[in-house]
Symmetry: C2
Amino acid sequence: MRVDEIDELLSIRAAELYYEENKTQDEIGQALRLTRWKVGRLLAQAKQRGFIRIEILHPRARRLPIERRLREERGLADAIVVSTAGVHSPEELQERTAQAAADYLTALRPVPRTLGVSWGRTLFEISQHLRNGWATGVNVVQINGGVSLNRRPGTAAATAVGIAQKGGGSATLLPSPAILERLETKEAIEADRVVAGVIELARSADAYLFSAGAADHSSVHVESGYLSTADVDLLVQKGAVGDVVGRYIDSDGNIVDPALDARTVGLTLDELRGAPLAIAVMSGSTKHAVADAVVRSGLCTVLVTDEATALHLLDG
Amino acid sequence: MRVDEIDELLSIRAAELYYEENKTQDEIGQALRLTRWKVGRLLAQAKQRGFIRIEILHPRARRLPIERRLREERGLADAIVVSTAGVHSPEELQERTAQAAADYLTALRPVPRTLGVSWGRTLFEISQHLRNGWATGVNVVQINGGVSLNRRPGTAAATAVGIAQKGGGSATLLPSPAILERLETKEAIEADRVVAGVIELARSADAYLFSAGAADHSSVHVESGYLSTADVDLLVQKGAVGDVVGRYIDSDGNIVDPALDARTVGLTLDELRGAPLAIAVMSGSTKHAVADAVVRSGLCTVLVTDEATALHLLDG
DNA sequence: GCTCGCTCTGCTCATATGAGCAGTGATGCC
DNA sequence: GGCATCACTGCTCATATGAGCAGAGCGAGC
């Protein structure tokens, strides 16, 4: 038995006594016939070699070292990473992430006077996790079109209104479909005084809060009837990994289909990229690819996500 | 938000900074605007409420608190429980347990002069994990019959011989089948001078080392041809949960089929129960029921097992 | 409205732990 | 064989942490 093998075993024995039996290093020293300094060094070694895993088991637990890596290695202004420890379903993950986003918004300083928001399942859940009085006097403005065409009408509006009401402010809705069938209609809608005014207000927002959708058949665009499953398949063929504020991007963050993009109402991606504070909230394995594109192409300054997605961004 | 809810969240934030960022309690106090004593109390609370999980990730890691519970709540003289953290296959679990048994034997004081052993997959693996010179002059004697009939001939012998050779001693084999077809044959064999002498030696052993088999078709008795799958099914119907030294017992540790037992060669269970040192080694979910019967009915004084089996014994 | 008792807070003091440092023994190199 | 090097050991000292305690704040009960 080699010496470092003996030391490895001793460090495990020491760790058992230290962490499971709450003995002092001195007591362990007596038990294993070592000096307390040797015990201290064995424990340090065990930690350093990764034999000791400390996990914080709580729905609200975050992974600060991963957040730091995201800031440092991906140049984000801030990152919130929720722990996946003990998560059993994608819904639970989504909820944790939405809760973390709500917490982040609530703690945000300075409080934004005008907050631009997108809509979708994630945004709706964030709105539900915000507490009454999370802010005082936050005005919310929709940054992309989204009057639902068929199913679940009004969730887009309910999201914006919910965030605004709980924040003691009012919501300004963008009264337009997400994607128009004809370019002329889209241009006409954008020329409309009310719509133009809302978009202008959206451009002036202090902060943006949005999610991204995966490019697959479960997309809200399919569910809402703006795109058919065939449309999505075509986009995927062209390299789409997902959409941000209704605009489909490839893995480099470039618009996949400029013609489709021209028929999409709302803030452009470059306007989003120019924002001083753009908070992207994405979780779940289906969003790994979009999340990567969003972060790489600088679409957000702040990322709220789960541990697995974060590690995907960092380690590929 | 209730006060204890705020405290819960604060304790999670504190735990993140303490365990993941290696901040001192004082630094955390400054960051969260708390006194360092409050931080200390929050951390203690987080531990106490079970939000902090510390795991030792190593094949040789043991679970000392569970071992203690087994000693105290099940009256065992000693218990060795290996961690299941990071185990991916039943084979790996079996290996860890065998390794632990080998370690236990090596560290055993006083060193037994005569060691009685059973045979089977577990025992064979233990023999392989023992190091040359694990003891000096240990004589090994088989405590139950087991000349394999068809497959893998000689593993029973190889086990005993291996343990003896590595321990600087010699092995005494029990030259008899495990189970005889007729009672008369069994009695004749036991009357044989050599066989009687081996059994007498087995009775005088200082310590016994044995495993138990589950009562299912994968049993070594089926594999070796002593029992048919139909025999096993019948035993299960009569309440058998497994076998110890070839003798099938129910969940209370009683012999299931006295007629079969009478045809089984080797130490009786009561002889085993009377031993001052009887080390049972069992691991894997298939052995939960037998392990329970063995421990409850006092067949062993020392138990070597895995975490999951141990928890099954303790919490049902 | 007052008092009793309880919990929680911020402290002092004792203890446990980590950083750094000089001596020691082993190892390899000439 | 002698010497330089280096990892490792056991220490001193500074710091971090936990135990225990007095006082403050708060609520229940009279």
